[in-house]
């Protein structure tokens, strides 16, 4: 009896396992590995997901995504996706996946990958980068017109080229608008997750007379937005449209991760995928501004709110003029020396 029951258990187990293999998934799917933080962040993850979803619906293929909880899980998920062989392309969201992807891309040289916001130098990886300086430029034009005290304050997460890129463009935009507004020297929080310090720094800028605050500082930036709300001055958002966070936030620079992800997936399925660095900006629609008429309804629908601050028509005309000139190359927005 003992032997029989053991034998039976073994047969059942093996049966189950073999049955499992019979149900293997088909090829030609989209894989998406989100950044820690996961869906619902109303930023990077949600927007990347929106792009992948659009590709899925248009191409009529399946989309599988995971939401890793820790950086340490990336490598396991990437290998799990890649080794299944079911995926036409695997999109990895967020700079902190780069280390793991660098390894996995070499292990699976025939698998197509894309990484958002970081460079992985492997022939089978498309690195999707965004010309933040151009987005900063448009926002700078808006800020220059919206300030009454003619003083604008900016808060950065860390003093690194990636962040200086936003601000160089921004200052250039303020100058180009030529309204007599000036940007005070940038202050840096020194971390991405310190809203308290972000708020303190923004308050000190407001005390110096700034009435428009912009922050590119991750979570620390939320503190700066809070400070502006408290003092009743304007603020601007970054990466995604953040205007839903408060009526004082009148515009946001947008990194169109959705567009980049969508285009890359489409290219993979069309057979035109190429590895390498793809750095695009306003001309290609990878960088934008949530107040531009084509974009505004998209964000309002996505986040379920409406912009309340009116942007005067002459200001918007100026912004659109800047947009056109940057796209055509008539205006060359400078970048930090590290980017050349």
């Amino acid at each position: 009896m003992k032997r029989i029951s053991r034998g039976l258990t073994a047969v059942l187990l093996f049966g189950l396992i073999f049955f499992s293999f019979a149900l293997a998934e088909g090829a030609g799917r989209i894989g998406l590995i989100l950044a820690t933080g996961g869906l619902g962040d109303k930023s990077f993850n949600d927007i990347s997901y929106a792009g992948a979803l659009k590709a899925k619906e248009e191409l009529g293929v399946e989309l599988d995504y995971v939401e890793p909880k820790a950086i340490a899980e990336y490598e396991g998920y990437q290998r799990d996706f890649a080794s299944s062989g079911d995926y036409e392309i695997i999109v990895c969201v967020g700079f902190d996946q780069a280390d793991a992807l660098n390894k996995i891309a070499q292990e699976f040289p025939n698998q197509k990958f894309a990484i958002v916001d970081m460079v992985v130098n492997q022939p089978n990886v498309a690195s999707l980068l965004f010309k933040a300086n151009e987005g900063g430029f448009l926002l700078g034009v808006e800020a220059a017109y919206m300030t009454k005290t003619k003083k604008i304050g900016i808060v950065g997460g860390m003093d690194i080229p990636l962040i200086r890129d936003f601000f160089i463009g921004f200052e250039e935009g303020v100058k180009w608008a030529n309204t007599g507004a000036t940007v005070l020297p940038t202050v840096y929080v020194g971390g991405w997750a310190d809203p308290t310090k972000g708020k303190e720094l923004a308050l000190s800028l407001i005390d110096q007379g700034c009435d428009v605050i912009w922050a590119a500082a991750g979570k620390s930036g939320l503190g700066a937005l809070e400070a502006a709300k408290e003092r009743g001055v304007f603020a601007m958002g970054v990466d995604a449209c953040q205007c839903y966070l408060g009526n004082h936030i009148f515009a946001s620079m947008t990194k169109r991760v959705d567009v980049a992800v969508y285009e890359t997936i489409k290219a993979a399925f069309a057979g035109t995928f190429q590895g390498g660095i793809f750095e695009k900006g306003i001309a290609e629609g990878w960088i934008g501004n949530c107040r531009i008429p084509d974009e505004q309804p998209l964000w309002e629908e996505r986040f379920g709110f409406t912009h309340t601050v009116e942007i005067p028509k002459e200001v918007m005309d100026k912004v659109l003029e800047a947009k056109g000139k940057v796209a055509s190359g008539e205006i060359k927005v400078p970048r930090p020396p590290e980017f050349q």
Binding site: M1, K2, S5, T9, L16, I17, F19, S20, F21, A22, L23, A24, E25, G31, D64, Y65, V66, K69, A70, I71, A72, E73, E75, G76, Y77, R79, D80, F81, S83, S84, F95, D96, D99, E107, G191, W192
Partner: protein, 347 residues
């Protein structure tokens, strides 16, 4: 027939097997009622755990740290100590190993690797020594102190890798460990390293120590009945401190194994709670080193398979954690099952 039935009921691991099967069955029901395809999900779970060389490697990789932590818990529990601060000891061990691995340069592998591992073990042991001394000399119960020490370790290591020992870049982690301190990978390209066989060796060592040495016997005697042990001339305090140190040492080696074998650096938050899992795995493994091996394999399988399940069916990873929790719940009550069986047999 009756005799056969009785023999079946006396199958020594019956409660565990019943518990595991019941847990899977309940898991299927949960899947069904939450609207996921149960069979597809389970097939993905098995495929992710055994379906390929990669899956198999993933299962063993996931089993490794929890085998270490379950041995750690076992060592303390057998001495009558409830060390629930294994997570902290693992983190401190991991951090010390990462420091030794990154800072020492130009040392040959046969020296560097053992040094980093040993350092990890000592880091864990020292972190366990604090609650051990507090218990012995101040009488504070270890359940409180070890848990508190765990939180301290978690925030302390997080601070270290966010500030003084942070590698350049955006991620809170240390610099990569020197190649001479890395545990060799044994099933490329998977993350499975020499840490797994090392964990098996430690299982045997723990078994030998507890059941084949006089000192181990004393430790167990203290755990079974401290008064009797004391009367027999065994120093309860010193044996409990010893058990604490050994427990912390094994936990620290487990952490070092993760750093030197899997990640190659200390990444903030690399442990999803291996220390806490160890407690459960140890109980499921009936507080025996060999049981710990089997139980940690089961949990490794659930973790590895859970990843594939999450990918293929969008069933959240939490669901495979629910199955784990069910296994624990059902096995924490094997006594009840036994009593029930005995009653049925009219004994």
């Amino acid at each position: 027939m009756l005799r056969r039935a009785r023999r079946f009921l006396e199958f020594p691991f019956l409660p565990e097997v019943v518990a595991i099967l019941t847990a899977f069955l309940l898991g299927l029901l949960v899947l069904f009622f939450t609207g996921y395809p149960p069979l597809r999900a389970f097939s993905a779970l098995f495929r992710g755990a055994f379906g390929s060389r990669n899956a198999f490697g993933q299962t063993l990789t996931q089993a490794t740290p929890i085998l270490f932590t379950s041995l750690s818990f076992l060592l303390s529990f057998r001495a009558g100590i409830f060390n629930i601060g294994i997570e902290g000891q693992l983190l401190m061990g991991a951090f010390v190993a990462a420091l030794l691995g990154t800072m020492i340069r130009s040392l040959p592998l046969p020296l560097h690797l053992p040094l980093a591992l040993l350092g990890g073990g000592l880091g864990g042991a020292l972190w366990a020594l604090i609650p051990a001394l507090i218990k012995t000399y101040l009488g504070a119960h270890e359940v409180i102190t070890t848990m508190m020490m765990s939180y301290i370790a978690s925030y302390l290591t997080s601070y270290f890798v966010n500030y003084p020992f942070k590698a350049p870049g955006w991620v809170a982690q240390t610099n990569p460990v020197q190649p001479t301190a890395l545990l060799p990978r044994i099933l490329p390209p998977t993350q499975l390293s020499l840490a797994f066989p090392l964990a098996l060796v430690f299982s045997v060592l723990v078994f030998y120590f507890l059941f084949r040495t006089y000192l181990g016997f004393q430790v167990r005697a203290v755990g079974l009945n401290p008064e009797v042990a004391e009367n027999r001339g065994i120093s309860v305090a010193s044996r409990q401190i010893l058990a604490f140190l050994l427990s912390g040492f094994v936990a620290g080696i487990g952490g070092a194994g993760e750093v030197l074998g899997v990640h190659g650096k200390f990444v903030d938050g690399f442990s999803p709670g291996y220390g806490w899992d160890g407690i459960a795995v140890s109980l499921v493994g009936r507080l025996h080193p060999l049981g710990c091996i089997l139980a940690s394999l089961l949990f490794g399988m659930l973790r590895a398979g859970g990843m594939t399940m999450a990918r293929v069916t969008k069933v959240p990873l939490d669901l495979s954690l629910i199955i784990q929790a069910l296994v624990i719940l059902l096995i924490a009550a094997p006594r009840l099952i036994r009593i029930f069986i005995l009653r049925k047999r009219g004994l």
